[in-house]
């Protein structure tokens, strides 16, 4: 026991989490006693400080900092025998591990855990909305539930699950043995449970969970009970996680590509994560800033948003949306990458307009920073700002449209295999187009004035984030499931999952456009009689939608345990991750691959993307020319 308290792991983590609390208690009480503040045991301050110390002490206990601390203290670090690399049993997934493949799966499973809880919250408040009037939860709980639903879905599901998929796939795709900073990668992952548990723990706080929406507009969030602090602090941990991961991705993508993989030979998932990571590095600090201001107001009595003191509440919205609009692209650009991979592999065609696909990603990144105020058309903002923001927002439809049309071009005259990932990809395209259309509509100022803050907006962003992003996540998970687990998923269940989700999703969210147009505001626990019929329909559909997720969970668990053994390359795809065994060897490649051509040369006779021996120098020199790069023939690694 004593030994297990000294070595990294759950016992030491529990001990140090407790020490973190005692430390916060002693610190606050000590300072208050020393400074003569009157009430010495002030719980709000103690818990605020504990929300910083407990996670950090937990991270120490679980073992995130061990090697660094050994190094700083000058002690010899353990010779790196990679005992923390790879996973041999399920228990290894509960330890700090530096292997990007283990971290990728840790990410995906953890984020789906929070996804299920967030979905459950949605079903609880949909049950309340089944009928007009208040039935079984009070207004505070209702506000807490939809706020936590959004916080969980955005900060600890949608943003990090893409980091998880890319964590697993990207180093393999690039021909790298791991991410650039494996320990930082592990730390990024372990930040996530801290953030998610903080969001959930807020329900235990006096005064209830944070109840100001995920937007936490000041000054409401300044005055809210203690639960709000849990939100602001949780966002800091989730934000630190995504910044650290984004830096890791950027360094990996730029400096660790396989020999011969020029930027124009990189798979589009690499491009997508490159673009996303740029957004994260540049934008995420702004939400950190906005929540720091809230925290400073709440904990230190500052007055950023008190008009009587010269503060400015609209400033909060500017800072917040300068992150939170790009966040939409953080939550969808990696999905674009996934869809490009899946459509070309399942239509047996090169991606149509590969370069334009990459450029359109970058165009979205640039434009994405110039549109934030479209969330503020009815806010007390200077009126003139609305017009340029309207035009930039509408123009984002252009590069997005280029991507959609290019995917259609990719399918044209292909040989289309309607496997589960492909069906999800096609479902994504149709649903995302609808979300994009309502997005352009909302960019139009006069129309936005009519429907902003109504259910029309709720419908819009669920079409973008559920019908868009989540569909790409399912597509990606089915697509790479054989690679990750070494087993095949069940096709029939995958298709059942798609059709139940697709139908229930539309039944849930399409009517929300209609009630929104008729004037039902969002974030209300009760509504006028005229909306009763549609709301009952929406609620019942949402329960079916929730139930459809059980098919997915069952398929994943069952197939991982006893699905048929997967071959190395079940889809016959060209990118590097499919050229190694399923699951891949511990350091990904026994021989470093050499890239000799484009990643999507389906149908080009003799074309290869990667080989496992030195290329002939002539071929390596001809970058950008694809159809002629046939070398004979390093064999792909055996399965």
């Amino acid at each position: 026991m004593a030994a297990s308290l000294r070595s990294p792991g759950w016992y030491r983590a529990a001990l140090w989490t407790a020490i973190g609390f005692v430390f916060a208690f002693a610190l606050v009480v000590g300072i208050r006693a020393a400074a003569d503040f009157g009430v010495v045991v002030q719980w709000d301050s103690i818990i605020t400080v504990a929300l910083v110390t407990m996670p950090i002490f937990f991270l120490y206990g679980i073992g995130c900092f061990d090697t660094w601390l050994y190094w700083i203290s000058g002690r010899p670090t353990k010779p790196d025998d990679h005992s923390d690399h790879g996973a041999h049993s399920w228990k290894d997934y509960f330890k700090v591990n530096t292997d990007h493949k283990v971290i990728g799966i840790q990410y995906i499973v953890t984020t789906f855990f929070f996804f299920m809880i967030g979905g459950l919250f949605a079903m609880i408040f949909r049950a309340e909305l089944l009928q007009p009037g208040m039935q079984f939860i009070d207004a505070q709980t209702f506000n807490g539930l939809f706020s936590a639903h959004a916080a969980l879905m955005i900060f600890v599901f949608m943003v990090p699950v893409f980091a998880g998929i890319a964590n697993y796939v990207l180093p393999l795709m690039l021909g790298a043995p791991d991410m650039a900073f494996p320990r930082l990668n592990a730390l990024s992952f372990w930040f996530l449970p801290c953030a998610g548990i903080m969001f959930l723990a807020s329900f235990l706080a006096p005064g209830g969970a944070f109840a100001t929406g995920w937007t936490a507009y000041a000054p409401l969030s300044d005055q809210a009970p203690l639960g709000q602090t849990f939100f602001s602090m949780g966002v800091q941990f989730a934000g630190a996680s995504s910044i650290a991961t984004a830096i890791n991705f950027l360094v990996t993508i730029i400096t660790m590509r396989a020999p011969g993989m020029t930027f124009w030979r990189m798979p589009l998932l690499g491009w997508a994560n490159f673009a996303t990571s740029l957004l994260v590095v540049l934008a995420t600090p702004f939400i950190a800033g906005s929540q720091f201001m809230i925290l400073f107001d709440r904990a230190l009595g500052m007055n950023f948003f008190d008009a009587a003191q010269g503060g400015d509440t609209v400033m909060y919205q500017h800072v917040f949306w300068f992150y939170s609009h790009p966040a939409v692209y953080i939550m969808v650009l990696p999905g674009f990458g996934i869809i490009s991979e899946i459509i070309s592999a399942n239509a047996r065609k090169p991606v149509f307009g590969y370069r334009m696909m990459a450029f359109s990603l970058l165009a979205i990144v640039v434009l994405g920073f110039a549109v934030w105020a479209h969330h503020m058309f009815v806010a007390p903002m200077q009126n003139w700002i609305r017009i340029p923001m309207m035009f930039t927002t509408m123009l984002i439809a252009v590069p997005t449209g280029v991507k959609i049309f290019s995917w259609l071009g990719t399918m044209w005259r292909g040989v289309i295999h309607l496997r589960t990932p492909m069906i999800w990809a096609l479902g994504f395209m149709t649903m995302f187009v609808l979300g994009g259309i309502s997005g352009v509509m909302l960019a139009v100022v006069p129309f936005d004035i009519a429907v902003s803050d109504t259910y029309f907006v709720v419908a819009h962003f669920h079409y973008v984030l559920f019908g868009g992003s989540l569909f790409t996540i399912f597509a990606g998970i089915y697509h790479w499931f054989p690679k990750m687990t070494g087993r095949m998923y069940n096709e029939t269940l995958g298709k059942w999952h798609f059709w139940t989700t697709f139908i229930a999703f539309n039944a849930t969210f399409a009517p929300q456009h209609l009630v929104g147009l008729e004037g039902m505001p969002r974030r209300v626990a009760d509504y006028a009689e005229q909306f009763a019929a549609w709301n009952m329909f929406i609620s019942i559909s949402s329960f079916v939608l929730g139930a459809s997720m059980l098919i997915f969970i069952y398929n994943m668990v069952y197939s991982w345990r006893s699905g048929p053994i997967a071959p190395a390359n079940p889809w016959n795809a060209h990118t590097l991750e499919w050229q190694v065994s399923s699951p891949p060897p511990i350091f990904n490649f026994d021989d470093v691959p050499t890239v000799v051509g484009h990643p999507y040369e389906y149908g080009v006779p003799g074309a290869r993307h990667g080989i496992f021996k030195e290329p002939e120098p002539v071929v390596a020199a001809v970058a950008g020319d694809s159809s002629t790069t046939s070398t004979d023939e390093g064999e792909p690694a055996p399965a």
Partner: protein, 259 residues
């Protein structure tokens, strides 16, 4: 791929597009409208739909066509598709056409916005103050204060100057298609001319705390003569004092037009 398949597909696509556009104009999307200028907002919505429907039909149509026409013969089909990598001409087309369409729609919306927000002659000023969880009104030209129930004359341009004493609220009149946030330290403005008598909801559209759901009031549009009487009744010595709270049952229905 047979040419007849293509022609058949195009005919279906045109029929579906025409049907959806007809539906766009036939369907009552918003409920009763009580301000003529705001009718343009409904039109903006309809034209946005009209511009979007062809895109949606083309995209879904091509997906459906590809599935029907280019489907693999079972899992064992190991053919590859035709290896074409792109076409600069078509890429330019699908970049330029959407750009033109969105810019045109944006200019149209801009014109409508200016119309909706234009200053009117002979405006009746109403100061609106949002508080948790009620709306308070003052008619500075008439020296009348009230809360909960907002009474306005028909056909007189209204000019709202709005603020808030605590958190952010949003003054939303669904039947006028208008809303604007109110915030402490800011004055926001809204203009419209009610042209229909009746009772209509006013809701708070910005989450403002535990009572946000119930932060609702009523807009009562009356004939000018009735309005004069109402103002007189609020001014006498036994005029009711504003209560600072909602006097109207919170979830009044949308729009019952008077006549």
């Amino acid at each position: 791929m047979k040419a007849s398949h293509r022609i058949f597909g195009i005919i279906i696509a045109i029929a579906v597009t025409a049907g959806l556009i007809a539906f766009t104009f036939a369907y009552d999307w918003f409920g009763p409208l009580i301000a003529e200028e705001s009718g343009n907002i409904d039109n903006v919505y309809r034209w946005l739909l009209v511009a979007s429907i062809p895109f949606f039909v083309i995209i879904v149509g091509i997906i459906a066509f590809c599935i029907l026409e280019f489907r693999a013969d079972g899992d064992d089909d190991d053919r590859d598709g035709e290896p074409f990598h792109g076409s600069t001409r078509i890429e330019i087309v699908w970049t330029v056409i959407p750009t033109i369409i969105v810019v045109a729609l944006g200019i149209y919306a801009w014109i409508v916005l200016d119309q909706v927000e234009a200053k009117q002659p002979n405006e009746l000023t109403i100061n609106v103050v949002g508080q948790q969880f009620a709306w308070n009104y003052e008619y500075p030209q008439l020296g009348v204060k009230t809360s909960g129930d907002l009474v306005v004359p028909k056909n007189r341009p209204l000019y709202f100057e709005m603020t808030s004493v605590d958190v952010i609220h949003s003054f939303y009149i669904p039947n006028a298609r208008l809303k604007r946030d109110t915030a402490d330290g800011f004055t926001t403005r809204l203009r419209f001319t009610p042209d229909t008598t009746g009772t209509f909801p006013i809701v708070c559209a910005e989450l403002c705390g535990i009572g946000h759901t119930t932060m609702r009031g009523t807009l009562r549009v009356v004939e000018p003569s009735e309005f004069t009487k109402w103002v007189a009744s609020r001014k006498g010595p036994n005029a009711p004092k504003p209560t600072g709270a909602n006097t109207i049952s919170p979830l009044s229905p949308t729009g019952e037009t008077g006549k």
